[in-house]
Amino acid sequence: MSAAGEKVVAAAPAQAAEFEAVPVGRRCRRILSMDEEAMNQAIHTDFGLDPMTFLPDMDVLDNGMFDRVLDTVEAYDPDAVTAADVRRVLDADVVEPADFGVLVAPAAAPFLEEMAERARAERVRWFGTNIQFFTPLYLANYCENRCVYCGFNCESGIHRARLNEEQTIAELDAIAATGQEEILLLTGEDPVTSDVDYIARACELAAERFKNVGIEVYPANVADYARLREAGADFVTVFQETYDPSRYAKLHVCGRKRIMPYRFEAQERALKGGMRGVAFAPLLGLSEFRHDALACALHAYYVSRAYPHAEISFSCPRLRPAAGAVTPNGPHVTEAQLLQVICAYRIFMPFAGITVSSRESARFRDHVATITATKVSAGVSTGIGEHTHQAEEGDDQFEIDDSRTLAQMCQAMRNMGLEPVMNDHVLV
């Protein structure tokens, strides 16, 4: 392919404009230049962006990882996996990347108890009985994206809010008073309303009150991650949502999030920006969950190979109903299937952290914690300003199931024979 000269339509048909682009790997491209007005118009127009084309202001790594993961997933046929394949993989000491798909196939379902036993043994070997706690703090719910399944999407009629500095401090203090030492700062994905300066200031305020600050915000460039690292954050979570390109394009209608490979490379950019670790997740249920679990496992694996110092973690969300959102017609993921995926992550990458969302029930989370999860949230609110019941509360991103307080969660974990750990980290 030539280095330049390819034309990409980067705006809706009505305002179609063509921009010169260069290839990035086999699936993607990058527009070389675009004036700001045209870019904004394309970003805010439904289906106005080509999902496989980086915008000119986006960092591009172009290291082949995106193609490598998608090639494997496209060739994956879960129904071709046999019980003998599962037996072979479970009998091996190390699960090869090519074998992860075996563990999440339907043929592995009857082996779930054995998988859980192995997952528990690995967890004990690597993490003992420790279980870490954190809580999310939603700073803002403004969002430029239109993800049809999400309560924050820009077209939903929810009440929008963004905490100012005083409100942020009040929320942080209220959470810190409960005994939490790790916090995850979240925003909706709007780089204008919640710009990097705003998030960096929140990180500074959080770092003064918490020993461990993570962020789950819109994917950013390396320099922005370096800035946030400097401000006190050192762990980055980005949900890829789905690794299925056609489904991704249908579900993410507008906003920068529509650009799938830019999101895919977020963890690597975060590590290049100096972050200690990164978390990965598909939102299971948006597409074929077995394919998405395989893609996520490979994504995390290849990143761990390229950045061997990085702490790697999996989050394990299933689709939940949300106000103002549409539930897509993806297959419902059962608890047993979710557990199968979680155990497969543990068996494949035994050293990785695994976080189980408060979207799940207390019963499910307690049991998964004893089997293999290493981190759980407690005292969760997904709305804006809810920890201090401030007047300007914004609506929730999604509905949670497990609303236990930190004290209740600690007691539950002790009852299950686990050791609650508020902090296992020194920021250096």
């Binding site: 004990v124 009985t129 061997p308």
Partner: protein, 272 residues
């Protein structure tokens, strides 16, 4: 009478067998890690193992939690904070200083790890960290991959002991690096403490019999079915191995038995 004398002499040999680190004298040669324990069993494990030194991760002690790990370690035990989480020498130094601020004393086990999968130590950074920390007055025990040249560099950098790994941390695979640890024991004048990978009491015993100054274990005890009993088994195994080393083991032959003088026996014929 002879038996009683021998017994007395064995007791005396064991009683006199102490070792020193950072000016402190220890009689126990089993070091217990605390990272994977439930807090309510740490104390029992320390006591059952007879451990006098317990390691703890500074990152784990760096908490406001009421039931901190620091509160679970019995009084009189020497804390050996480790720098786990450090990826560079500079980070290890900062964590060691924090340990001092937290009241953990001047002992520090240097761990510099840039590999999340096998948790193998970065020897070059470990030497640098040892140099910096020793110059700040710490008693430095570096966790290292058993390489003789690196061990010599650690001696020059001011280490108080060297802590070669037997196998990757938490693997319970035993003395996988046996031959290289043996070289360190022969060549390095500092205490050689076998750290990481020891999965069973028999492996700890073997390390001590080889001449290691001490053995450290964490996962093997923390993940046992009966933790206090396994702690005791490790304590006993370390004592037995040490006694075996002190006693001077007889030769061990490879393969068959041996005639007393297979090659030179013919010389006796002339005498007859």
């Amino acid at each position: 009478m002879a038996d009683i004398k021998a017994q007395t002499s064995a007791d005396a040999a064991l009683a006199a067998d102490t070792w020193t680190l950072g000016g402190k004298e220890f009689s126990s040669r089993f070091i217990l890690g605390s990272g994977k324990f439930r807090l309510d069993v740490v104390k029992a494990a320390v006591e059952d193992a007879g451990a006098q030194i317990v390691t703890l991760a500074v990152r784990r002690a760096n908490t406001n939690q009421e039931d901190s790990i620091l509160d679970s370690i019995p009084e009189g035990v020497t804390l050996l904070p480790n720098t786990s989480g450090a990826r560079t020498a500079e980070e290890a130094v900062r964590i060691a200083r924090l340990a001092r601020e937290l009241g953990c004393g001047d002992f520090v086990k240097v761990e510099v790890i840039r590999d999340a999968r096998y948790l193998l130590p970065d020897n070059a950074e470990t030497v640098r960290a040892t140099d910096m920390l020793a110059s700040e007055g710490f008693t430095v025990l570096p966790y290292m991959y058993p390489d003789l040249n690196v061990a010599r560099d650690l001696v020059s950098a001011g280490a108080a002991a060297v802590m070669p790994l037997g196998a990757p941390i938490g693997s319970n695979r035993g003395l996988v690096t046996r031959d290289f640890i043996r070289i360190l024991i022969e060549e390095i004048d500092l205490p050689v403490i076998v750290d990481a990978g020891i999965g069973r009491p028999s492996q700890a015993c073997e390390a001590m019999e080889m001449g290691a100054a001490a053995v450290m274990a964490n996962t093997a005890v923390a993940t046992a079915g009966n933790i206090p009993l396994m702690a005791r088994a490790f304590g006993d195994a370390v004592r037995a191995g040490r006694a075996g080393f002190l006693a001077g083991p007889g030769r061990v032959l490879d393969g068959m038995g041996e005639a007393s003088s297979p090659l030179t026996g013919f010389l006796e014929e002339e005498a007859r």
